[in-house]
Symmetry: C2
Subunit: 263 residues, 2 copies
DNA sequence: TAGTGGTCTAGACCACATA
DNA sequence: ATGTGGTCTAGACCACTAC
């Protein structure tokens, strides 16, 4: 069986495991189901916040048992791509929820919890289209000179400027995003990407160093030149491991620290 | 059924889910199995590197189906406490394996892979018994003044001193560990803890900041005072979430960086 | 050949949410 | 009352490892 006519989805259905010959191309059924679900997520068929079909329905659609679908969903849930809610259904994870609001921001105040300082203040310093330099292009899998959107902003907590961030986005996937829209948007930036451009950040890599503050930092973060700052370079990826954002942050760590858990 | 006489284990068997009344004390069978396995690991019944009983045997022992045991083991494997090897069995994870040698060290060279600079050199600067200060006691869940083992060492890569580490261990669980033994031991420190003291580090929390180098750093890391360094404070935990090690590291980040993955 | 973990199924019952 | 995900079972077959 390759495809079934009663399947209303436009994408190709995963072919059922061929147990007649044990070649190297073997892939477990549940992995194929998982790949199919990933495709649908990537295609935007099910949007962040929405529910996906029930396990029973997916099982019927793929002509496998509920347990096999369950195992595929289990893995996607453990990767934070899906969210299971007993009695309600399985939902596409989103950055818009309060819980996962700061899933990618590891800087926390030394005392108190996040948010105990009141709401963060965000000041856009700069926002424009530009050309990718060699290192920006490499991080975003572009070519040098390709158009990118660039933004610079300062995040303040408790009235003090703590974070200076430079952000680069590839222009193509964010077609229609104006500097103005970015500057005026209130709310999590990753939520904007989801709702307006169907770009969901699912994973990120960060490289961290200690660097001395420059004149720019003195101006924007109100620190003396030479003050040690945490330099955090982040590349965020979407469903298919496509790099979609480069972010370079400079964190003041006199009153905050970067918290990490090692499993 | 509470316990069965044919169970040869000394520890209490998990009581089977009481489905007759749905109280708040409900806990799934597989969670109880998981707890039992955790107990055995904590008690040192199965040692790091050894295999645990097969799924079938555990299922028979607990009088549950293989699938229920499998789910318990699945979770423990995903938490890196157990390691499954198809055809061979399930093994207690260990820090002695080459793969997971540096599971807790996130500092990597900017170019090349870890180890491309040749083997790390470790120089013990100091190693002695002392009394816990207030902050050390708090981190290790001790009382101020309790005896701790303290060590200071420098790690060099490619001939350059990169890391200065101060390590504190509670004296009680490491009874018999002499400063001499620590200083002369070759190999991963966490492997020594496992084999000699049945203390396995399964999890750690790190708090990171940027700090200026002091005179001590100038002496031991060969940097100018004021040079930004990465300050990494780590508390490592064993099976029952007991804090067992406090480690304060200062990393030079001119040629290395701290790498982190955000899920 | 035997034993291990890995996949898959079919069906039962439970807990939770909603109508 | 119905539908969802959560747990548990019993059994089949496959893939890998070791003897």
């Amino acid at each position: 069986m390759q495809t079934s006519p009663d399947n209303d989805l436009t994408t190709a259905e995963p072919s059922v495991q061929a147990s007649s010959h044990t070649t190297a191309a073997f892939s477990p059924l549940y992995q194929q189901i998982k790949g199919f679900i990933l495709n649908s997520l990537h295609a935007g068929e099910w949007k962040p916040g929405e529910s996906i079909p029930s396990e029973m329905e997916l099982a019927a659609r793929f002509k496998v048992s509920q347990g096999t679908v369950r195992k595929a969903i289990d893995e996607l849930a453990s990767e934070n791509l899906l969210l299971r809610r007993q009695g309600k259904g399985t939902f596409v994870a989103t950055h818009a929820e309060q819980q996962v609001q700061f899933r990618f921001l590891k800087l926390v105040p030394d005392s108190g919890t996040r948010g105990s300082e009141g709401p963060a203040q965000r000041d856009i310093i700069e926002c424009r289209r530009s050309r990718a330099t060699a290192d920006v292009a490499r991080a975003l899998a572009l070519r040098t000179g390709d158009t990118v959107l660039q933004a610079r902003r300062v995040l303040s907590f408790g009235g003090s400027p703590i974070i200076l961030e430079d952000i680069w986005l590839p222009a193509a996937p964010f077609k229609g995003l104006t500097a103005d829209r970015l500057a005026n948007y209130q709310g999590p930036m990753y939520a904007l990407f989801e709702t307006e451009f169907n770009v969901r950040m699912v994973r990120a890599e960060e490289n961290i160093r200690a660097i001395p503050a420059s004149d720019v930092h003195e101006l924007l973060l109100k620190v003396k030149p030479g003050t040690p700052l945490l330099s955090v370079e982040r590349v965020a990826y979407t469903y298919r491991d496509e790099p979609m954002e480069l972010r370079r942050g400079c964190y003041r760590t006199e009153t905050h620290h970067y918290h990490n858990t090692l499993g």
